[in-house]
């Protein structure tokens, strides 16, 4: 059962792909052993996907936390190269993603445009990794004899509720988070999960350290509350136009005062700016005396 079914003709039986989740740099199934189906727009089932549980969320947070300090400690140059590498890998797999998007109902022209936009978006944020700090940090002219500066630091582990937009939205939510040194747990709960599960493979072949991006598929009502309430998640990026979704997640997030950014966009074409990075950064001010 796969997106390749339509191409399965002639006399050879195609090898179908099992769509698994991406956690800690590996491709496990849900610990729950459950599955859901992904459907074509006409209702035909096209794949089985993992229906992840709150325990999968927990495992993914553990992986994201384990990876966070190391990822943040990479040089900005290195993170930029790795984001660039993701773009390279995605570009190379354009045909596969176009087919996945087409299977989800996009015309071939729309599918090609979305893949190209996603590649370009990765490129855009690859370039920001070693620039946003220069644009947004400051040396503060305090009125005492101190060297005083404010820099941006990643918030840490960011829980992402991925948008419905299956590839461009997904990439637009993940890229700025990791460009700034955060690690992510991404919940894919929309109607088209296959680009996301396949994007995990792209990440895995792009020198992204395991655990920097963790992608879970399943149902929002099972996964979002445990993620939003998890004490070891520092921030949430909620990509949903539904205010009730944001509200309920925000209430869970109060527990440890997670930072919450809400992205209600349905069209992700123009959702690209350094503020997508800085919204997931903390400001740290450091003082040191100037003297002998």
């Amino acid at each position: 059962m796969s997106e390749q079914r339509s191409t399965a003709e002639a006399d050879r039986l195609p090898v179908l792909k099992t769509h698994k989740v991406y956690v800690g740099g590996k491709f496990p199934r849900s610990e729950s052993g459950r599955f859901d189906r992904a459907f074509a727009p006409d209702g035909t089932p096209i794949a089985n996907i993992c229906r992840c549980s709150r325990k999968d969320v927990r495992d993914a947070v553990t992986a994201a936390r384990a990876a966070q300090a190391g990822w943040a400690a990479r040089t900005a140059y290195n993170r930029g190269q790795i984001l660039y590498r993701i773009a390279e890998m995605l570009e190379g797999r354009s045909a596969q993603f176009e087919a996945l998007l087409a299977a989800g109902g996009a015309t071939s022209r729309e599918a090609a445009a979305e893949v190209q936009a996603a590649v370009d978006r990765l490129l855009h944020y690859a370039g920001w990794t070693d620039k946003f700090q220069q644009v947004f940090s400051s040396v503060n002219p305090v009125a005492t004899s101190h060297f005083n500066f404010s820099i941006l630091e990643p918030m840490g582990v960011v829980g992402v509720l991925a948008p419905e937009s299956p590839l461009l939205g997904l990439v637009s939510s993940i890229a700025p988070a990791i460009a700034g040194g955060n690690t992510t747990v991404v919940l894919v709960t929309g109607g088209q999960p296959l680009p996301a599960t396949t994007f995990g493979e792209v990440l895995n072949s792009s020198d992204v350290p395991g655990g920097v991006v963790n992608i879970l598929t399943g149902r929002r009502d099972e996964m979002l509350a445990p993620l939003a309430g998890h004490r070891d998640v520092d921030a949430l990026l909620l990509c949903s136009p539904d205010p009730d979704v944001a509200r309920s997640a925000e209430i869970e997030a109060v527990h440890n005062l997670k930072r919450v950014a809400v992205r209600p966009h349905e069209d992700w074409t123009d959702v690209q700016s350094p503020y997508e990075i800085t919204d997931l950064q903390e400001v740290k001010t450091t003082w040191h005396p100037i003297g002998s």
């Binding site: 400051s138 520092d234 509200r247 005062l257 123009d270 740290k284 001010t285 003082w287």
Partner: protein, 505 residues
């Protein structure tokens, strides 16, 4: 613990003749009280709404008292929901009709005026602050009031430069800000809230703390005198209910709160899903790390300033001392000696180091923690200085050999109480510093620059002081990681808290 607890393990505290405020030996400081002659305090203060002082609807009032004498200073209007409604309506009207229409340069001029009059009336404000809140006059005179004026002066200049706030984007004000501030830095917190808000083009409704409303009301007089259009700044006094009415008001676009993490979470919950802007400055339990290569005498001064500044009523206080084991004995011995020289007493005396605890309720809370610390097994040390008979006082206190699990290590006490722990390696010190749900601030003492910056970069907190502590400036962003809050005040980051970037075209 008893008042006369000697320094355990180090023998009796050493006398430092000429430094202690112990008049019995004939070498103490003579009293040096600040004169209060020219300070005019009214018996009764109203709410400041729409440019006028007015009684609360229904005429309810509460008393504000001097914590050093327990004597009432004035009756202050207690704002109800209806008063808050009136204040928010005035702020909305002023925003729509006046303040958002005003040329940015002119808006800035009003804010500059406020800064100037604050400077002119600095002495009066400093005395009022010390009378109403109990902080030493030296601190209100040299820190609170000058910094409050500096905040207005700094943000005034931003008013016509908002196009530079967000690179690549325009900036828009938010509307009406509802602001609630604490009692530890009453005028300074009012300045932190009001200055960036109105400079950025917003209007405000501010609620000062119940125990320290007077300087905010004097600020209202100054704002009135400065000719700021009615309704741009509204000040409603009262207790928690009034504050709740301000931050939960439907017509408030932005909420700014400084106070406890507990209340901050309630506010955050109430704002969930509203899409409103908010900044929260909450509690802290900062680690002050002293490494073996620190300049010990400077570090001791920094420890004292970190925890005993403003009676320890400081959210970013260095309330956990982490000392590297190899220098722990020396540091603690010198710290005890230094603490013995601290003078607790009349906030208006210029020799006073530690003034009055802000209220009976806060003293009760601190004393509860003194019991808890001892019961849990930490070793208490308190200085032997005399304290006045009346008023609320707490001698500077250490809890030595505190364990990570002790509540005096985990919880914010908000008093002159320092929990002391030791560590062996740099990594252990960092891990201990980060072992808290708070993340407001931290201190590092080391003469090795590379080490100091390594440690400051690894402490998860919003403000790091290396070889200094408790320094503040209007240009320097301040605010917490983790459960110490969300957002920043001060600097450009503090301006962002009152603006939104214009959507990309």
């Amino acid at each position: 613990m008893t008042d006369s607890t000697p320094a355990t393990g180090h023998g009796a505290p050493k006398l430092r003749l000429g430094l202690r405020n112990d008049n019995d030996d004939g070498w103490g400081y003579a009293p040096a009280p600040e004169s209060t002659d020219h300070v005019e305090l009214r018996d009764r203060y109203g709410l400041f709404i729409d440019g006028e002082f007015t009684d609360a609807k229904g005429g309810r009032t509460f008393e504000t008292a001097n914590p050093a004498t327990e004597e009432k200073i004035a009756d202050v209007a207690l704002a109800s929901d209806a008063d808050v409604d009136a204040a928010v309506a005035a702020a909305r009207r002023a925003y729509d009709e006046v303040w958002s229409q005003l040329a940015p340069r002119e808006r800035g001029k009003y804010v500059y005026r406020i800064a100037r009059v604050l400077q002119e009336r600095g002495r009066e404000l400093a005395i009022t602050e010390s009378l109403d809140g109990g902080k030493p006059i030296r601190e209100s005179r040299d820190v609170d009031i000058p910094l409050a004026a500096a905040h207005f002066f700094y943000y005034a200049g931003w008013a016509d430069k908002l196009d530079y706030a967000f690179p690549g984007r325009g900036a828009r004000s938010l509307g009406v800000a509802g602001q609630v501030i604490p009692w530890n830095f009453p005028l300074l917190m009012a300045a932190w809230k009001i200055a960036p808000a109105i400079a950025a083009g917003n209007t405000v409704v501010l609620k000062p703390a119940e125990t320290t409303p007077l300087t905010a009301l004097k600020l209202a007089e100054i704002i009135q005198d400065a000719g700021v259009p009615p309704g741009v700044v509204n000040i409603v006094t009262g207790a928690g209910e009034t504050g709740a009415a301000v931050v939960q008001h439907e017509d408030v676009d932005k909420v700014a709160f400084t106070g406890s993490t507990e209340v901050g979470k309630l506010i955050r919950r109430a704002l969930a899903g509203s899409g409103k802007h908010y900044t929260l400055e909450l509690g802290g339990k900062a680690a002050n790390l002293v490494f073996e290569d620190a300049a010990v005498d400077q570090a001791v001064e920094g420890i004292v300033n970190g925890i005993f500044f403003n009676q320890g009523h400081v959210c970013c206080a260095g309330s956990r001392l982490l000392v590297q084991e190899s220098v722990a004995d020396e540091v603690i011995s010198k710290l005890k000696d230094r603490m013995e020289t601290l003078i607790v007493g009349d906030p208006l005396d210029k020799n006073t180091d530690i003034g009055a605890i802000n209220s009976r309720a806060q003293l009760d809370r601190i004393e509860e923690y003194l019991k808890i610390g001892e019961e849990e097994g930490a070793e208490p040390f308190q200085t032997s200085c005399p304290v006045p008979d009346r008023g609320y006082w707490c001698r500077p206190t250490l809890f030595l050999h505190a364990a990570q699990s002790h509540r005096v290590v985990q919880e914010e006490i908000f008093g002159p109480v320092l929990a002391v722990q030791t560590f062996r390696t740099v990594d252990e010190g960092i891990a201990m510093a980060n072992n808290t749900p708070y993340g407001l601030s931290g201190g590092v003492w080391s003469d090795k620059g590379a080490k100091a910056f390594r440690v400051t970069s690894r402490i998860r907190a919003g403000v790091l002081w290396a070889n200094t502590y408790n320094k503040f400036d209007p240009t320097a962003p301040f605010g917490g990681y983790k459960e110490s809050g969300i957002g920043r005040e001060g600097g450009l980051a503090g301006l962002h808290a009152y603006l939104q970037p214009e959507e990309a075209a």
